[in-house]
Amino acid sequence: MKKYQLGEFEEVVMLTVGILYKDAYGLSIKKEIESRLKRGVSVGALQTALKRLEDKGYLKSFDGEATEERAGRPKKYFQITALGKKAMEYSKSTRDELWRAIPKVALELKIVEAL
């Protein structure tokens, strides 16, 4: 369990970086999360998460091109590392396992109740 630690927001960021593949830099990640999950993401929160993930070795980054609207500042692109991939897989598999462990009745009952 201790081996791969991935918080909820961190996992979202990792997944988004995966979705964007070659186009994952700060702003595009922010927009992607906002549009897909309909939730607001502050630059600060995102950057903190990115830095932490990079420190853990799940993401790696490289400087990209600078554009005029960025006032000449380079974009910083992120990529999932092999370790990052393992962490994501681990996180997914634990959830799946948990899902599978839920008795079907429990969920069905809930649905009935909800109806």
Partner: protein
């Protein structure tokens, strides 16, 4: 509106740039800007601004903020290695200059190191006392005295005990000086009377015995372990009873008192043994006698009771211990208050404006005072050596600075290349400083070798038998040396580093910096060095001639073949009769002091029946033979004769003159009163009986015959076969006093030894002068070498055009010769006036004429001309083909 209105709020952008981690800054700022532009298009500037501000504020979180300690652990190893390599290569490439720099710095450093060692040695003293920061010695001072006395009134310790701000007091009274006897074994023992509080105030511990009670009971004695070993061998010393006879031996320093016939003080019980040699302290003693033994000695009239004698502050040392929380100024106030009350009705001459002051225990070793407990170097000695060391250190440092700046051209290209490659001014400064520190550390290595030579030389100086410097090199002194060298390196390299780093890369690479950095600066330095050298040369010649003057001084009496023998308490009449029987002895005399060797006693007298002031005079108690023995002349009246009343005195001519008698004849027959009445029966021709360095020259003198006060027997012997005569004298001594050893000195030797300290001064000054001159000449050598090298081509061309060698030498030497002349013009009057300052204070002084000054100038010029000439001559002799061929 501002033109840059499509920018986000500047303040917040600045704030962001300030706090953001430098590694993240660019990419995040890019994101922010991109986002800002989009938002502005979408929802207008105001909203975009507000959102920007919100984003920036939300970014202000620990993981984004840069760490305060700097984020980059940049490894400068490569660059440092490069600096080091270039530094070493430069040192090896310019061997002459490196030698001049390293040698000069090493020489001056070794002198500074010697001083550091001396101070380190002295600082080890009195560090072992657990309460050392709270213990103070009380000093006595009067405005008329040259320095404060280490001693204080005897009763002070017990009187101060009443003050609440003082935790504890204790006194040490020297007065124990005599023979200790145990069975058949006899030894001389010197020490203090001490109180039980001694072991509370000081950190001395007893090897054997109980410190709390060792000094409590009367007739208890604590002895040194050597004494215990000598007296009792391997036996247990505690509880042994020894007999002690007082002989009033001189203690703690040799010139205190002279001994008297033995008086038994009775038996003493050994209550403690102390290993005194294991302590480095200003206090040294063979024994401590319990102060409770004193009352009995008072009542038996064997020891003077000074408890209520507040006028005498010359014998006892008082120490006070302050409480944990203390205030020294409060102690001073207490002492002032005490003096005010105690001395209100005391009107003695020596207690006029009397003052008591505290001296910290740990400051005692370096703060020698009058009547101190041992011989140490006074602080002025350290200042003196420090001044000398600094003077030559400065000279060596200036050499480095001077040569580095002069040779700036050799480094200009390098600096240019470095700057083009992005070196900051800072890094160039750092490079040159590291180079100079490197040179300084190499010098340190050489200096340590030099120290191996000068340390023993210093220890062998005559004065060191009194000062006892040990000069051990401990780890901490090495650290000080390394730090010192680094500091010297920084000092030497500072100006060149700043100067060289200022070069603009373009002109440096073009070679446009061809000439003269600060020729004015360099000239000033050279002149300064030679002024200092001249000063030292003149001073050492002068001190040496003063020394020779003293050694050959005509004292006005004949000291040849006179042997002074310490009486050591023996009866003068008996001994003089015995010694007089030895063949070869011409006459035997006696006296209480030996004239002109530093000890003087005073007497106050005035003409009987008058009420005026008393006249001060010195007094020597002498046997009647004294006059013949020293070949003195009686100019009026008659000499003393044996076995007459001791009211008859002789005076010297100065006394007669000073007291208003124009003709020596007139004073004969006059009666004077001091404590008793004295009648002048003769006038003796003036002779020098004070130390020659004494300011008074010849002061009024009284000679009086009181055999019971004699301390010395003076024997005049025939000059043939002195060794035999002395052995016969010794045999006679053995008959009279089988216990004590025969102690004698030739008067001639005694007189010259009073000037040995001056000879040491000559040795030190001469050495320093030598170093100063060597360093200055090395600097000059470096400068001339450099200039002549730079002018090789010019010399070649001139030679081809027909210039004579001599003319070339003149041409090349002119600049530096002028400097030498300027240095002499400044230095000669300076050395003349500065040296006259101290010379004028001496009464018996050598004539400081043109001779000494000219000799100094000649030595300096000869060395300077030799240095300059050697280089310029070499350059002008060179075959022009060689210098012109290569291009």
């Amino acid at each position: 509106m501002k033109t840059d209105s499509n920018h986000p709020p500047k303040l917040f952008l600045k704030f962001f740039r300030w706090f953001c981690h430098p590694k993240l800054k660019n990419s995040i700022e890019g994101d922010l800007m991109e986002l800002y532009q989009e938002r502005k298009v979408e929802s207008g500037k105001l909203k975009a601004d507000l959102k920007f501000v919100r984003d920036v504020l939300l970014l202000f979180r620990p993981s984004i903020i840069k760490p305060s300690g700097g984020y980059q652990q940049l490894n400068n190893y490569g660059m440092l290695k490069n600096y080091f390599k270039i530094g070493i290569r430069n040192i090896l490439k310019y061997k002459v200059f490196s030698f001049i720099n390293i040698f000069g710095l090493a020489v001056s450093m070794s002198v500074v190191m010697l001083l550091v060692l001396m101070l380190a040695d002295q600082h080890r003293y009195d560090q072992f006392h657990a309460k050392k920061d709270r213990v103070y010695r009380i000093l006595s001072s009067t405005p008329t005295g040259r320095q404060a006395y280490a001693t204080s009134p005897f009763g002070l310790a017990s009187a101060l005990r009443e003050y609440p701000i003082i935790e504890q007091t204790t006194f040490l009274s020297p007065g124990v000086g005599g023979d200790v006897l145990y069975g058949q074994k006899l030894a001389e023992m010197k020490g203090y009377f001490a109180e039980p509080a001694f072991f509370n105030v000081f950190g001395f511990e007893l090897q054997k015995g109980n410190a709390a009670s060792a000094l409590t009971n009367p007739n208890s004695i604590v002895i040194s372990s050597e004494m215990a070993h000598y007296l009792f061998g391997a036996d247990e010393p505690i509880g042994k009873v020894v007999d002690f006879s007082d002989r009033q031996l001189s203690f703690p320093i040799e010139s205190d008192g002279h001994g008297a016939p033995p008086v038994s003080w009775g038996s003493f019980t050994v209550t403690g043994v102390i290993d005194i040699t294991s302590y480095k302290s200003h206090l040294k003693f063979d024994a401590l006698m319990s102060s409770s033994s004193l009352p009995l000695l008072y009542s038996e009239r064997k020891f003077g009771d000074a408890s209520n004698d507040w006028e005498n502050y010359f014998r006892t040392y008082t120490y006070v211990l302050l409480p944990e929380k203390n205030n020294v100024s409060e102690l001073q106030n207490t002492l002032n208050d005490f003096v005010k009350r105690k001395y209100a009705d005391i009107t003695a001459e020596q207690t006029k404006d009397f003052k008591l002051e505290p001296q910290r225990l740990t400051d005692i070793q370096l703060g020698l005072r009058g009547n101190d407990t041992n011989n140490r170097m006074p602080s002025v000695g350290y200042y003196f050596i420090g001044f000398l060391a600094l003077a030559i250190l400065l000279s060596a440092v200036l050499n480095y600075t001077n040569l580095s700046v002069a040779r700036a051209l050799t480094r200009a290209r390098e600096i240019g290349v470095r700057k083009v490659n992005g070196a900051l001014k800072r890094s160039i400064v750092f490079q040159f400083l590291s180079e100079s520190v490197l040179v300084a550390w190499l010098s340190l290595g050489v200096a340590l070798l030099l120290l191996l030579v000068i340390k023993p030389a210093f220890k062998n100086l005559w004065v060191n038998q009194y000062l006892q410097f040990e000069l051990p090199q401990s780890i901490s002194t090495y650290f000080i040396f390394i730090g010192l060298a680094a500091f010297i390196g920084l000092l030497a390299g500072f100006y060149p580093a700043v100067y060289l780093s200022r070069y603009s890369p373009i002109s440096a690479l073009k070679g446009a910096i061809t000439k003269r950095g600060r020729l004015g600066f360099r000239k000033t330095v050279t002149v300064f060095q030679f002024v200092i050298s001249l000063f030292f040369i003149v001073t050492s010649i002068l001190v040496f001639s003063q020394f020779r003057y003293f050694m050959n001084f005509d004292y006005g009496f004949e000291s040849r073949n006179v042997i002074n023998i310490e009486l050591q308490g023996n009866d003068f009449q008996k001994l003089s009769t015995e010694l007089g029987n030895v063949p070869g002895v011409i006459s035997v005399s006696g006296s209480d002091i030996i004239p002109a060797t530093g000890t003087n006693n005073g007497i106050q007298l005035r003409k009987q029946g008058t009420t005026g002031e008393y006249n001060n005079a010195n007094i020597i108690i002498t046997a009647p033979q004294f006059v013949d023995n020293l070949n003195l002349k009686i100019v009026a009246g008659r000499a003393l004769v044996p076995n007459e009343s001791d009211r008859f005195i002789l005076v010297n001519e100065t006394a007669a003159k000073k007291w208003g008698y124009k003709n020596p004849q007139e004073i004969v027959g006059e009666v004077f009163e001091s404590n008793e009445t004295l009648e002048v029966i003769g006038v003796v021709k003036d002779f020098h009986y004070l130390l020659l360095i004494n300011r008074d020259g010849i002061a009024p003198l009284v000679l009086r015959n009181r055999p019971q006060q004699f301390q010395y027997v003076s024997v005049k012997i025939a000059s043939s076969n002195t060794a035999l005569t002395i052995s016969q004298l010794e045999a006679k001594w053995k008959q009279v006093d089988p216990i004590h050893s025969f102690q004698y000195k030739f008067y001639d030797d005694e007189l010259s030894s009073t000037h040995q300290a001056i000879f040491d001064l000559v040795a030190i000054l001469g050495f320093i002068a030598f170093l100063a001159v060597v360093i200055a000449c090395l600097g000059l050598l470096g400068m001339t070498t450099y200039t002549t090298e730079r002018k090789t081509k010019e010399v070649g061309i001139r030679k081809v055009m027909g210039a004579s060698e001599w003319g070339l030498v003149k041409l090349l030497s002119r600049d530096y010769s002028i400097l030498l002349i300027i240095a002499i013009v400044i230095g000669a009057p300076l050395s003349y006036f500065a040296n006259n300052l101290w010379l004028q204070t001496l009464t018996n002084r050598v004539e400081f004429g043109w001779g000494i000054l000219l000799l100094g100038i000649f030595i300096l010029s000869a060395l300077g001309v030799l240095t300059i000439g050697s280089q310029t001559w070499k350059a002008s002799k060179k075959n022009p083909v060689e210098s012109l061929r290569s291009e």
